[in-house]
């Protein structure tokens, strides 16, 4: 057990003295945290030494935005979600549509269960993509890990990925040893991730020691990509141009399974439990950690007054084509599933496939000057 002597020292000060000032704050952590909860949890730490203040630091440092509700807390290891459940359970409930501490999460990575999804109109859908994250059991998470641990995660990950064959065969590019030529190519492919600049991430400590033990793997076809040691141990991405989401999802599921098999051989499978599904750094990514989406041209529908409502009913969200917190360019939107926890991977990708198909039909109607009022879906 790793002793957190700084937390012992901190316990000498009173609750009143240590309690953060959250009067200007608007994030899930600030909504959920009370003095009672802080008092109860402040003396605790996970076996690896992660404490309540570590969990909430990012939310204290980033008061948030009146319109955008950030999560405001992170996990430092698998045990964080247990040791600090008095805080994290209400945060999870608030973020994931009322998910209860007793609920069970269903994991379904059988791509064959997806119906359709191979025929989204390529005149509208420019590209399709599915991403998720995975954490390696037995190691602490990016906000907390030491250099030794991070390097161990990288080493195992490289072994897992370089064992891949067939369409998954590819190469690993460590960030710190990359040549300029490799770097330029990765940038041109839109694969390269850089040191986080968002204060939401920096304040949680996940950018420490950059770029040590960080890197990118991608297959030769450039359709399967893994980020190592960015916000999570692994971020796994399957993508391709056009609208064949089924193929993207198949590659995603098959690739994940192959990688998992290698980790399991070393007794370091993925962090998962039947209540929270896959365990990731940010509570917003629990469950499937899955964001499946398309870049789709919807210039008319996106300006329709019911666009937001349609998205909400379809359980979808829109982003600009630069990803989270970017604006749309030329009527092209990133449309993806809004949910992560409480429904399975297949269910979430199904919502994207069905929803995008419907929206394209609406777009076509609007192009012909027809009304779409009778097409507005019921709440899914």
């Amino acid at each position: 057990m790793t002793k957190n002597c700084h937390n012992d020292y901190k316990m000498k000060f009173s609750l009143e003295e240590e309690y953060p000032d959250l009067s200007q704050h608007n994030n899930h952590m600030a909504k959920a945290l009370t003095k009672e909860i802080y008092e109860k949890l402040r003396s605790k730490s996970t076996p690896s030494g992660f404490t309540l203040d570590d969990i909430i630091q990012t939310g204290v440092d980033n008061p948030g935005h009146p319109f955008i509700m950030t999560v405001g807390c992170v996990a430092g290891d698998e045990e964080s979600y247990e040791v600090f459940k008095d805080l994290l359970d209400p945060v999870i409930s608030d973020r994931h549509g009322g998910y209860k501490p007793t609920d069970k999460h269903n994991t379904d990575l059988n791509w064959e269960n997806l119906k359709g999804g191979d025929d989204l109109d390529p005149n509208y859908v420019q590209s399709s993509r599915v991403r998720t994250g995975r954490s390696i059991k037995g190691y602490t998470l990016p906000p907390h890990n030491s250099r030794g641990e991070r390097r161990a995660v990288e080493k195992l990950s490289i072994e897992a990925m370089t064992s891949l064959d067939g369409e998954f065969k590819g190469k690993y590019y460590p960030l710190k040893d990359m040549t300029e030529k490799e770097q330029d190519q990765l940038i041109a492919d839109h694969f390269l991730f850089d040191k986080p600049v968002s204060p939401l991430l920096l304040a949680s400590g996940m950018a420490r020691d950059w770029p040590d033990a960080r890197g990118i793997y991608h297959n030769d076809n450039k359709t399967f990509l893994v980020w190592v040691n960015e916000e999570d141990h692994l971020r796994v991405i399957s993508m391709q141009k056009g609208g064949n989401m089924k193929e993207v999802f198949k590659r995603f599921c098959v690739g994940l399974q192959k990688i998992e098999d290698v980790f399991k051989k070393h007794n370091h499978g993925f962090m998962w439990n039947e209540h929270l599904g896959f365990i990731l750094t940010c509570p917003s990514n629990l469950g499937t950690g899955l964001r499946g989406g398309v870049h789709v041209k919807l210039p008319k529908l996106s300006t329709h007054p019911k666009f937001e409502e349609i998205l909400t009913r379809l359980r979808l969200q829109k982003r600009g084509t630069g990803g989270v917190d970017t604006a749309s360019v030329g009527g092209v939107f990133d449309i993806s599933n809004a949910d992560r926890l409480g429904s399975s991977e297949v269910q979430q990708v199904q919502l994207v496939v069905d929803g995008v198909k419907l929206m394209i039909e609406m777009e076509k109607k609007l192009e012909k000057g027809e009304s779409i009022d009778d097409m507005i879906p019921a709440q899914k």
Partner: protein
Amino acid sequence: MASNFARILSSKRNVGILSLVGAGSLSVGFFLTREQYVSAGAQVRRLYPASADYPDLRKHNNCMASHLTPALYAKLCDKATPNGFTLDQAIQTGVDNPGHPFIKTVGMVAGDEESYEVFADLFDPVIKERHNGYNARIMKHPTDLESSKIRGGQFDDNYVLSSRVRTGRSIRGLSLPPACTRAERREVERVVISALAGLKGNLAGKYYSLTEMTEKEQQQLIDDHFLFDKPVSPLLTCAGMARDWPDARGIWHNNEKTFLVWVNEEDHTRVISMEKGGNMKRVFERFCRGLQEVEHLIQEKGWEFMWNEHLGYILTCPSNLGTGLRAGVHIKLPRLSKDPRFPKILDNLRLQKRGTGGVDTAAVGSTFDISNLDRLGQSEVQLVQTVIDGVNYLIECEKRLEKGQDIKIPAPISQFK
């Protein structure tokens, strides 16, 4: 209130009575030898051997990276100060910021007073490199705030636009900004503003808390160029000193706007005396008087500044040890600044130039910020005298160049008088 914290009620001149109030070994630590520190401090249990955790410093150019060998890392990595500050925390900023081929940053910080002892095997060579060979084990640092000893110090206003002296002070018994808890930071704020409230005469003033300031007050402070904002420099943010911003941060200034104190920015306090024009002597007089009065006021309540006879005033960054003093002027040197001998002249005078925005800024027009290079090993009086003599020399050079006369590079002045 003070009984929650351990304090030492001894003056810096006589190592006399040690009075312990409250729990914790941190008050005892000050008087222990280094070996006793290392065993009195906490041990950190590590999951990995030191070699697995040793940082990759191959692309780094900072003082920490120059001196942290794998062997030294292995020796120190499982140690912690009594408050729990570790080596990894001390060096994080230097690991995260490789540095620049031309500018050598320090690359490490202290989390508390005891850091300089527990991690002396790394701090000492860093201090030596940064402070011109100063040997912290052997040498003694002179502290002298008797401003009456200053000779001259009233510059020609045609050249000198403004004069300023700044330093920092830390409150003994409370952790430093990289490590402090919210409670400690708030206690620093309480101790300091209570003392400042006791200042009278031309030092009387007001405190503006960053969390409570009105928009009007904020604008006024911006217009006066007094407002400091959340640090953006990764050198500072990676060290953890911006946590919980803006909780317990604030600015105090006197009504005349010539004496200013920053609370809980990079150090517990930064103390600044300034005014327009070239009267450095008066600026330094006010500086010394203000510091001495604040010290007196905190001592009345049982507190004192962190100081010892080897390192002088203890501050977060090793570069600010000793006096922590930067005395400087904004000065117009249109001809001299274009002379190729300018850098060498500054160097020999133990001065440095900066842009008028402060560190890492460029000069505007030909107005420069000229200040002392050194911090440790010479007293406040000595350093300010150095600045005064040096600036006088620079003005002489500028005047000579105006008249078409030649100038000379002065002989280098010695350090560690």
